[in-house]
Symmetry: C2
Subunit: 131 residues, 2 copies
């Protein structure tokens, strides 16, 4: 659910600001799951979300469903109702091309940010400052 574009960096490269807030990383995790699984639906995604989650923070169903809707509005995923299967109807999602691209952007952002965080962690753990 990033903002349309980053007001400072435009669309030059996927920057953290263009990604908007981090939303507990729900968005990238959902994109990844859909990429690897081909397709899935909210309830199923929420069941196995913990395996993919980047943090140990619980991701709520409400947030998950709303994120899926937002991803669809932005054209990153598409959905169709599955009324064949037993039980309540499922809204089945899959990635669009745009969504695949967006996942790659996330990968780039994550790579850089992850590196920065590891560096921070090492630096902060040093018993002496650099002063």
């Amino acid at each position: 659910m990033p903002k349309a574009a980053c007001p400072r960096h435009g669309r030059q490269h996927p920057c953290t600001c263009a990604m908007g807030n981090i939303y507990r990383f729900i968005e990238p995790v959902l994109l990844m799951m859909l990429k690897e699984r081909g397709h899935s639906y909210g309830y199923e995604l929420s069941e196995s979300l913990a395996e993919y989650s980047l943090t140990d923070a619980r991701i709520e169903r409400a947030a998950l469903y709303r994120t899926l809707r937002a991803l669809e509005q932005n054209g990153h995923v598409k959905s169709a109702w599955d009324t064949e299967t037993h039980g309540p109807a499922r809204r089945v999602y899959s990635l669009t091309d745009k969504g695949e691209t967006h996942l790659l952007e996330w990968a780039e952002v994550m790579g850089r940010l992850g590196e920065a965080m590891r560096a921070f962690s090492k630096r902060a753990s040093k018993s002496d400052g650099l002063s």
Copy 2:
């Protein structure tokens, strides 16, 4: 500015949820800067923040000042007015013991999260899913 304690993990270990939201990582960056510099004040911190920042997102003065206040309320930093130096008075901050500990907690969180993000990045960049 984490919530008092994580409702799920209590205080067992520094978890992402106990850290609350990520606040553009202002909090850990400020703690780090104060650790390495010994002491500093808002305006000076904001000038060199970019060198320490984990993301390319601009950190606003307002957020910075408010974060410093919150850190003080939580006992992570302490402050004193410097009225000696020329110009407007400066509120000079330094880390408390609690703040040093908190920085180490951040380091642990960052280390784990950074690792998870790097792994995510590699996984997401693969052209084929694992399905």
